[in-house]
Symmetry: D2
Subunit: 329 residues, 4 copies
């Protein structure tokens, strides 16, 4: 393939931009390839694991993840405890603010504002969450005493009512959410307090390992879209490894291979483990997920929509979607 000069034209669509980027060079080539791999995994009917970290749910990607569940992209979600917490906070009406990386942290602390990069979360939001989660746990406990994490998260999702909520959409579509480190956020504290009152209340993380493992089989085509690193990424590729490896893998991360971390581990390295198959379609994009993912994924959605591979009778503009209040499937 030849390098081709990029030229802008009026009214350029996202899909046209991504198409052009495929011949520009460096990460733009990887980004266009990521789009291709995503389209291929869906055409090939692969079971798709989408993984992301908590900070992405702090950001506006949260609604995009919910939309992806709604239109049928992922079959499984894997994330961290903070993501669960913040999705619920937002579904309960909490709004986060855009600030600056250079805000004065001591001053923020005095005001009860918590900083995540250039995003700001009000401490009061955590109090509303506390009320919600304790109520939710009571309801779950009334049903049974021993819960795997994904069962619990499905139950939470059914209690929410927000089109832009990941838990809500996942519960509606029957997409399991795996969260192997469920205690690693405020929710861990609330689970602990609840268990102090109800000693027979058990969160069974081991059972969930079975759920993610049996979610796919050796014979299924498997695919991973891993955004950022952390155990979310590792857990999904571990699950595919144990079932013979993924046919498709897209990694997007700001981390590099040089430190040997999971965050920076490449799709190439994954081949040595059998996490992805030797002959698999893979792409590793180095860059901030808040830009890379909407860009590549929007172009993929465009192509999948043309092919009739998106679920829901119609995928329409945000404005329309907001008015009609969501899916009719």
């Amino acid at each position: 393939m030849k390098v081709k000069d990029f030229v802008w034209h009026e009214g350029m669509k996202v899909s046209e931009l991504v198409e052009e980027l495929g011949q520009v060079g460096f990460q733009s080539v990887e980004l266009a390839k990521a789009k291709d791999v995503i389209v291929k995994m869906k055409k090939d009917n692969a079971k798709v694991f989408l993984t992301f970290t908590s900070n992405m749910v702090t950001s506006g990607l949260r609604g995009f993840f919910a939309q992806l569940v709604k239109v049928g992209i992922p079959n499984f979600l894997v994330t961290t405890a903070g993501a669960i917490e913040e999705d619920i906070m937002k579904a309960s009406g909490e709004k986060f603010d855009v600030g600056s990386f250079d805000n004065d942290d001591v001053e923020l602390h005095e005001k009860g504002i918590n900083r995540v990069g250039n995003l700001m979360i009000d401490t009061e939001g955590y109090m509303a969450f506390e009320d919600w989660i304790l109520g939710a746990l009571e309801k779950c406990y009334a049903k049974k005493k021993r819960w795997s994490v994904s069962e619990l998260l499905r139950e939470f999702g059914l209690m929410l009512n927000d089109e832009d909520s990941i838990l809500y959409q996942a519960a509606k579509k029957g997409v399991p959410i795996f969260c192997p480190a469920i205690t690693d956020a405020g929710i861990g504290f609330h689970l602990y307090l609840f268990q102090q009152k109800h000693k027979d209340f058990i969160v069974d993380v081991v059972e969930d390992f079975g759920n993610i493992l049996l979610g796919t089989s050796y014979d299924d085509k498997k695919a991973v879209i891993a955004l950022g690193g952390s155990i979310s990424k590792h857990h999904a590729i571990l699950a595919t490894l144990l079932n013979g490896g993924a046919e498709y893998a897209v990694y997007m991360t700001t981390a590099h291979r040089s430190s040997g971390s999971m965050s920076g581990a490449t799709t190439q390295e994954a081949k040595s483990w059998g996490k992805v198959k030797d002959e698999s379609d893979i792409a590793t994009v180095i860059g901030d997920v808040t830009i890379m993912f909407p860009l590549a994924m929007s172009a993929a959605l465009e192509e999948l929509q043309e092919e009739g591979l998106l679920e829901g009778s119609s995928v329409v503009s945000r404005q329309l979607s907001a008015k009609t209040g969501g899916e009719q499937k």
Copy 2:
């Protein structure tokens, strides 16, 4: 400003995507801000320095830089010697290839292929360049003996005929190209050989310092769009510093502030020097320029086109542009 859930809709335009990114979080917020700052600098009639490094000209951004000159975005370009060389090679018909970061370098060397990240340059292309540059230098020398670098590059541009060439467009539009380290590429070798034959041939880098310095004044509004780091970036902000600092600055880079390098220096740090004014509009975007720049700049062009601020009677699709063979201004 509140964080807003990103939602894709069919047929999404680049400008719509960038608009949405402004409320997503992390680097997407900076990217949307970069677009805003670029629009503002043009509306405010600031003199714009656009700086880039050699590898971006290896990539398909080269044609985009040429287009930006054509539609009147930058008033000055600053770059490195490799960029000059490769623009001429491409204008002479040389094609570069898209390969992989993991190609076998010893094998490539045997084949006479030179790797720049995931892009590949054939060694033969350098031979064609040798012929071209020696001829060009003879013509220049016939005119006069002592040349500032920007004069020489203008002369080269006039000898080319390629709509997608930076030197060609810059020469046509009277946009000076500064290249303070002109000897740092194959072109340095050819200049040296030429000077061996013509001892009175002088490339005067000191004179060009005067040219970039006097290109703007204290009273002009000034703006810098610095892509990547290196002396290209430093030279432009040095020029604005000596004239009282820039009102607008956009930096895009993969480097971070932590090592104290010029590549990673932020628009914020520039304030301490007076490189940008204390109250200036600034944005620093961390990420690969091959994605970040087409994305933010295309959205800016869209807005500037609507405002009637782009030069040329019409800016049209690549296909049309290719057919008509360019600008009628």
Copy 3:
């Protein structure tokens, strides 16, 4: 403080180098500060959380972490499941290899070699681990049915006999190891298989939240040394946050603040949350932990040894330590 020219002298000690680095600039200043903060936290009798990720245990830092436990640096360890697994594999005699980042991954896969950056793990090692862990789980199950993770890891440690093992030293010294995502590695698979046979076997992650929370109090001075990112880092600072924040914090990571990730979150950002106190002693060092940590920590140990603040009657050379077979405390 003035910048001071670094000059090498013969026989330079690590502690002298780190001292000099304090006035060099950029990350070297942060590194020297990290050493200072570590010394201060021990002098001040703070309760120390040391967190690290799995890949560091793949590396030779594993023996260093064990040594730090032995000489009394950390009061708590927080890590990921892979770290547990590989510590046990090494304690069982498994050797890992140093290779290259550029090894051919398809070829490695055929040979049954798994790559972690430039380190290589033989697939056979996982089989020996399988035997070990199943035996260990039987023994634990015979004692009781419901285990918190840290209890289980203590039990494993008591079954090992390797001076360089983290689990062994931690069990001997009564230092709890927290691992909130215990299922996220091969061990998760083995726990699952075991639970399939013994349905009443429960790994209680919620109980462990109580253990880490009650491990310190509001009144204790608290300190965090977080190596790399991931939930290991987050879990420790969450625990200190809930007890009023840490007085001392050292973060070492290759990640940057720009993406809003936990890995790149700075000690400064932690102040907005109350994870570290406003007036705390903090240092964030950007760089590869395999170099930064031995460098800063060795200099800190030197200083603490002089002050008589290291545990064990004598801390001696590796050779001696190997011969005597460890601590007499």
Copy 4:
């Protein structure tokens, strides 16, 4: 080679630490290899190019570079204009300050303090430099009118008298300093003003290309130690490329290969160009040079000293060196 557990012992020397790091993993392995390559290039009598960027001269590495020249490590230096300027400023008594990356830049600007990462330069220092450089240029001009850059820098060095000055030591030892972008700093402005008064004063960058090219031959063994990126790095490897490629190369940088930049270009990529030979000894260390370089280089010096390969009758402690006032060679 096996991964080996790192264990600290009392009084550990830098050379011992680096030895241990060689079997730890990730970048520590590359660091130890860098030390080995440096030792080998000296033993093999290779001609050594040492390249560095301006910010490293802002830092305390400046005195270390001077020391390396003094003991005979590099045969050529390549750097940027800011490095020249700041070395002269420091040799004239100017002191820089260690501050913080988070200092308030607007406030600094009001105080006349310029920030480079966490280092601070007083604006007044530039005024003293102005006086010095104008005087120096007058003296040079009195000798002849046309100067290559390296000749000019040698002349400057002879006017200085500071053991810790790079220009001073290089002039004394006859080590040429190449600076292809000599105008890219305040010094460019002063050269311009001087040339305005003396139109026949010429800084000949083209002639210097010949000087660096002819500094080594095809038959010489050649080696590059490139610290950071920029044209300093590129210029040295270009010079070795044109003479058949280097036998030894050590790159230390915070940049990654992913963006295709010169800063992030690896020693591996250099093979495709013939910049380093296919069978050469190479190491690329990712990390902050202010830590990586003193660490690896000090260990190399130790080994070279033992082998009697350092110049000067004695290399002694900083204290002694300061008293005796330098070399007796």
